[in-house]
Symmetry: C2
Subunit: 365 residues, 2 copies
């Protein structure tokens, strides 16, 4: 292959037609270097409907009536796995065993031990693992990272607050997989709390907290699945983070970072208000104006534009890593599974603290 020829696209197989898969199918169509090779569902007809509904070429996309068939499809490089969390270990390890790279929906597992089984399978097979936490790939996140890393702008972060909640309707609260103990037993903690925990870890450059204490009075449904909860996280050096997550309150997606030199606010961190442009604000070295009648300087607003939505950038990044392995003898990038594992470890600790009535839970480093 001449070096001027474009590389073969990385071909995704979609395992299950979950509603979130529609967003990912669109991302795979938009992302340079990626393509949808196959869709698998519990019937070929469902796969066909999904493909037709989501702009996939029904003539060229392979439509499979079982999940197994996707794993056996030699045209599939990467399996995208949006199945309920309770099915992740089974299908993710099976995919890795067939040599498929893996894009795994969050929460990635019911507990860190389960995730470890998945990561071990990926490791053994030499395949790339990435969880599907889209906001990590938005250029706004990279811009915020730059400012957080700039000790002059933000300084040492001392306080982090994160909220992610949305108001689920009655149908969701009765029927969604995220309220079913046999499907997504972590409920709101796994679904929306995942993002808060990731945001907090992101802010501290993935240093694990020392102690986790769940907020009191978590809300559970009749099956014991969490509908609303939260926790406070403590680091040895005095940093403190608090998060709240819920299916019961208005859509909110906040990260607030307070550092010695600066403060960062973002209020739509998981899914930006609009696709093409996203904002955040930073107040740095803020003082009171003379007589304390105002601020000087005022906070500044940062606007970051993007041609591709964050989920397409995620697919593009994964495709780049897979291509490097598939076509150039590269190794999997260890950063992504490492971040996933830390998120899951903290999530485990929060769950344990909740189960113990908000007792402190220590995290070993």
């Amino acid at each position: 292959m001449s070096s001027h020829q474009p590389p073969r696209p990385v071909r995704f197989g979609i395992l299950g037609c979950a509603s979130i898969a529609r967003k990912l199918a669109r991302a795979m169509l938009l992302a340079p270097g990626a393509a949808v090779a196959a869709v698998g569902s519990r019937s070929e007809e469902k796969a066909r409907l999904f493909a037709a509904d989501n702009g996939l070429d029904v003539a060229t996309t392979r439509l499979h009536g079982t999940y197994e068939a996707v794993l056996d499809d030699p045209d599939v490089d990467v399996v995208y796995l949006p199945l309920p969390t309770s099915l992740h270990v089974r299908w993710a390890t099976a995919a890795a065993a067939r040599g498929k790279h893996l894009l795994l929906e969050k929460p990635t597992a019911l507990c860190a031990a389960d995730l470890d089984a998945i990561l071990a399978a990926c490791d053994a097979a030499g395949v790339q693992f990435m969880d599907s936490t889209m906001w990590m790939h938005h250029p706004r996140t990279a811009k915020m990272r730059e400012l957080v890393d700039d000790k002059d702008a933000i300084g040492d972060i001392k306080v982090i607050n994160s909220v992610f909640c949305f108001r689920a309707n009655e149908d969701f609260l009765q029927n969604d997989i995220r309220v079913k103990p046999d499907l997504d037993a972590l409920g709101a903690l796994g679904d929306v709390g995942w993002y808060c925990i990731r945001a907090i870890l992101w802010a501290v450059d993935y240093e694990l907290p020392k102690t986790v204490i769940a907020l009191r009075d978590p809300v559970k449904n009749q099956s014991g699945v969490l509908l609303a909860c939260g926790a406070t996280l403590y680091w040895a050096d005095g940093k403190t983070a608090t998060f709240s997550c819920s299916f019961l309150t208005n859509l909110t997606m906040d990260i607030t970072l307070v550092g010695t030199n600066g403060t960062l606010h973002v209020t739509d961190f998981v899914i930006p208000y609009e696709e093409k442009s996203a904002e955040f604000s930073v107040a740095s070295k803020s003082n009171f104006a003379q007589l304390h009648i105002g601020w000087d300087p005022l906070p500044s607003k940062h606007v970051v534009t993007t041609d591709l939505p964050q989920e397409a950038l995620m697919v593009q990044e994964l495709a780049r890593l897979v291509q490097n392995i598939r076509d150039a003898g590269g190794k999997p990038e260890g950063k992504w599974p490492a971040i996933t594992r830390k998120t899951q470890v903290v999530l485990d600790a929060v769950k344990t603290s909740i189960d113990k009535g908000s007792e402190p839970v220590e995290i070993a480093n």
Copy 2:
């Protein structure tokens, strides 16, 4: 006096030339219905310098070389008391005993029992009490109150976060009264935490929380005065609030309210970025856009303008109440001392929890 004649202004006596008193002197000059009658300091010369520096008429303002003289001045209707907290009981009760109405700086007392002594003295004398929490009087606060009370816009509030901190310089951390155990023993909790607690109580219409648990690892100076701390507050119906306050991190003044129907954000609640205009944002009944690629509707920004700064509006409101008592036989407005007392009771509980190593502290209702 004809009903068309403007009422006599309410005359303030400033007890002590603290730096915050400069802002209040300006407010008294700006506020309709108010006037500065007297300034008292530990020397007449200091009082004269303060008057001259702050635009007061040195010829007509009475300049007193003792605090006592202000209390004895028959031209003073209201005493504004910005002395260190440890002196509040002595001078506030003395002022009330002389029949002076009282504008008391926050924190109003070192503990609720001390505040009760002050409030009892005001009650016995039939004088108006108000604490000097300026943001309560900004028209933005009234506008936010309207939206919070509108159950359709915000619904039932479930989560409240508040942060107030500023980065004190070395001189402050060594010499300011707010780091001295014999002057302002409550440190950051009393100075900036006061506002967070007030904001939280304001948000829930002054319903006291049931349980208060301090965040771990509060920061204290060598004298044991708090430089940074926080707490989580719990209500019987499941509402939860968290606040952080500090002298060690960049200027930040947040209230975030998350309700079943809506979310409110304000990032300069204590002192608006600018004097004449202040903002906040509300997201109400926010949904994900189709495919979860954005929000629909977007949050809306509310801008509230004001001709007078919030501290002048505070002085004006107090003058109105005092005038009603002085000239029309009215009774003191009980709302203000009641709000102050609840703030101090919660502050006490946070302090107790801190002193007990973050043990839960119950608040009796």
